[in-house]
Symmetry: D2
């Protein structure tokens, strides 16, 4: 961390600041230039409150050299983290397909979708039991019963299950859930993150609609600081001015995150675009950009118009997508061997 | 609500949709045009899941005529809601000043600030006990002890207190808190909103960093649908591309919200800009735009550089601001009488 | 176009509006519902000023059924437009590589880069002669001399050239330029667009930093309305709140534009991310998303640190990228044949 | 300017950079810290291409201490610039009202509006002759004839006129125009800015929809670098995710710009919100925030529904607004005297 001191600051004030920094177990190197006095801080600066330092009268600006996250930082953990759940592996250069319906509706529905996506190569089953809805009058999911139905599908197919938690008080229901999902609107629900840090099972953390990558990594850090290292990051579209898609899928986040962190990165193309026709091209693009996995909505009820989510694929469309995604993944892997 | 049916849809499918809509206790008026069949829905459409309807195969688009919120809607409740807490009134054309430190630090600090802002005309005391911080390594507030210190200041000055809750499990600590604040990052923490709907005390609901006004009103609706009508809305800056201020204060939200809803609207100019020098002009602008109140950070420790928040005012600066804000408010009120 | 009339509007006013609409050669179908009177307009509504209609006292809202662009609209022109320049073809399912330096600096530089990118498979040479710079004190490009140097490279390699125009007055210098580029900041420089509509050579139109896809297509429409049908659209990143990349590359724009328009769509991954390390993954993602081409910055001067743009690839890196991009493109084409 | 050198850079490379910087007439102060070598540059760094320096292999980051604009910078020109046009003064603590119709339509219309707004206290007349429209099929303004009509109104009322230029080729028509307006979409039309730098009359420069304040000031710098010091800045709303208003008026820009620059700052509340009902509160808020003026759309044709812009005020509404705005301005001035 580099602290730029304002010109004409009194030496007494500068010394006060230096003593305080040293009390935080940091070494302080002072460079007195003609223009400006600069303090270089050595040590574990991830624990320094940068806003507090920036707010001080004598401080012109503060520049981090180190990132503010430590457990999630690739610099301190160069190898890819691979999250293993039963036979599924997420991270480390593979391509994991997570698929399932938007909402769990019945045992028949979830088991049929589970069998179908498993046959197409998915290794995890997703399905919403607790549904965050912007309106209190919209369907809020089956809740506890939804989780029970997911567990039936898990038992039948062997697929590990991913489903969303909305509040720490729901966690007792998640005992047999394999991966706990944190939704975009809860990415900075710090009490929930802290509680998930005490769990010992994987967490799939979705990026908030207007969260920077650094904020996403800081939220991962909340979980990891509690001792839970199994965090999967998920980009699901950010809020921009463009209105032709529901959100703007930020695929640059894939290579950017892979450089900043060792955690796996998966892409949710269903929620980001909100349009089923865009799911295939954006899924393939995500694979080409280097994503570790895809999380895709698949429904199984073509007869019932009411259940067709605008962003869901049919099982047949998912099957074709899965095949092409694997082809692209294989092409990239072959390319790597020759390059 | 108006539903545009896709050209060349089969009559059988259209009838199926109409029956389903009627099963939701809506009257359906069909207009068959040359171009397009249009369904006009009469009844309580706030309970219709617009995404579900839009997702149907035969639906081209859905247009709301009614807003999706009902309890918060000025159309159904033309008079301003006035939230009363002890002697403080928020809403209905007055100007309420809420002031206090960013974080509660000690009994001396909070009582000194409370006395000072009361003398300047503030009628509510704010202060952070549970602090949402993007880093797990930053100071997270004094928690329970912070609330106890606020209650000491309340007892000493008689000022009602406003402080933030971060999780439903903290609510038992808020028994004597007068107004419960929901922070921007929790605006769509629906479990928390639902729980606050069961409370019978005012909630100050901050707009999320990337939330539309409609989403803010839907979150208010969550609280009101539970039976708690005392919601105060707070604009505190939205996330945009501009970087010279921390967030962009959206003052158009004031007249826009006053038109859409009967709930009081207050402005937090401290957090939105993140720069103390901008607090005064943006506070005065908020008053001129018609805000019902201001929520302002005031610190009392000029000697200690470490405590000066970059966005906090000194007690003297707050005193001057309070006087000028009241002058502008009075000028506007006088103008109204003559016009 | 559907016009919703406000409840309780006077019939006299409604008739006045209907007569005016009919005077624009539109047929007006009136549906009088219980809720609302609705006018359905049949005819060429792309020439109706929607803002004007929306602004009328008796109008509640206006909903387009048709898009406001006509020449660029795939509905009226289902086949892909293929722009042909010498041997290069852009559009129609191929993959065109456009490469070259950010700025043209010297005959040696531009010829060396041209030979190198041609050997790697590029079929167009890009290079900046007139450079739009946000500071008046930054290097503004070699201007006329830069174009002359590009023409030398064209003569030597046979590659058609793409370079940016900033003002209609520069057009006489573009006689032998093959594709005229319009930069993001000029996407709504309507006088320039109108002038380019009078040209009879391809225009590569970059999306503005905060332009919607509809606005991009309306700017293409400006050029096409003048009789110049050869427009190539280019997504180059949009402005969002995220700061880890310079802009956010919106790859959803590829499938979205391919559906809305018949015009070719190319991606510029160099300017969007501003980081050379991201050029490869985002290029491959663009190909997988279905882009018709890539426009990539390549420099040739590894010895001179000063010339290494932060977003430029070395010739060797471009060569590897071109090979992998073609592999992914071929994989997708093969997939199409089987599906 | 401070240049952070990457750790482990070779001394030879560092020396090469230092020599190059010195060749730009800058003094270079080297601080070799344990962590990092830092170069402090003294001299006129506004002419250094920061992107070029940042792109160098050995450079970790570059931090400006000085702003990249010089002529527009308040540091080098502490007194407010006051632009004088006939009797109108813009800047320096006054409140200037600029009013008039969106488009000039006829001599009767423009003269009637001119007389009316003059009577209400406006000291400049605005009116569009060349209209930038996103559709080539929308009305593009009367052009040359529109300017002639404005000059008739100027002659009749003595009000100086403000109207928009869209291309340098139109400038000969602006000989008798008093203030030349640059629209938001042309804020980075650098050829136009350069040409306006050669003029010797005031330019009203509107902020681009997605331009930062620094970019706005750099565009002002383009004009000023050409020798034309009379630039008036205009905030007119930025593009954000919020859709209830057309754009988001960024009033924080007022105090921020007043601190960064000596140039006058006016607010256009009509275009930013796009809703006439919001013009009054946002105008009053702009005055309270410290704006030097307001630019407001006023129409005069209540009988003709077609001409009522959704964002235009009636003459009566403008008259009331002008009175209240002056009252608020006077209240603030009185407050300043006592504080």
């Amino acid at each position: 961390m580099i602290v730029l001191i304002k010109k004409d600051s009194r030496q007494e004030e500068i010394n006060k600041l230096i003593h305080w920094l040293e009390s935080l177990h940091l070494q302080v190197h002072v460079s007195e230039g003609v223009l400006q006095t600069i303090l270089g801080l050595v040590g574990d600066t991830s624990r320094v409150d940068i806003d507090l330092v920036r707010s001080m009268e004598i401080v012109e600006d503060v520049k981090r050299i180190q990132e503010p996250y430590k457990n999630a930082n690739r610099k301190f953990h160069p190898e890819d983290t691979v999250v293993e759940v039963n036979s599924a592996k997420i991270g480390g250069g593979g391509l994991t397909l997570i698929a399932g319906p938007c909402s769990v509706e019945s045992a028949e529905q979830i088991c049929a979708v589970a069998r179908s996506v498993k046959a197409s190569g998915a290794t995890c089953l997703r399905g919403g039991a607790f549904k965050p809805r912007s309106s209190p009058y919209s369907f809020q999911g089956l809740g506890k019963e939804g989780i029970e139905l997911l567990l039936i599908a898990k038992k039948e197919t062997g697929l590990p299950i991913v489903t969303e938690v909305m509040d720490p008080s729901q966690l007792p229901l998640f005992d047999e859930v394999d991966i706990i999902q944190v939704g975009a609107r809860n990415m900075q629900n710090f009490e929930l993150l802290r509680e998930l840090g005490r769990q010992r099972k994987p967490v799939l953390l979705k990026r908030g609609l207007s969260s920077t990558l650094e904020e996403l990594l800081m939220s991962a850090e909340y979980i990891m600081a509690g001792g839970n290292e199994q965090v999967i990051l998920c980009e699901r579209g950010i809020r921009t001015f463009e209105t032709s898609t529901r959100n703007t899928l930020d695929l640059s986040a894939v290579p950017m995150l892979k450089q900043l962190t060792h955690l796996p990165v998966v892409i949710d193309p269903s929620h980001s675009t909100g349009i089923s026709r865009l799911v295939r091209p954006m899924s393939l693009a995500a694979v080409a950009a280097g994503a570790d996995g895809l999380m895709i909505e698949v429904h199984n009820n073509p007869a019932c118009a009411l259940c067709d989510g605008p962003q869901s694929l049919t099982p047949a469309a998912f099957d074709e997508l899965a095949r092409t995604a694997r082809l692209i993944h294989a092409t990239l892997q072959a390319g790597k061997e020759f390059s």
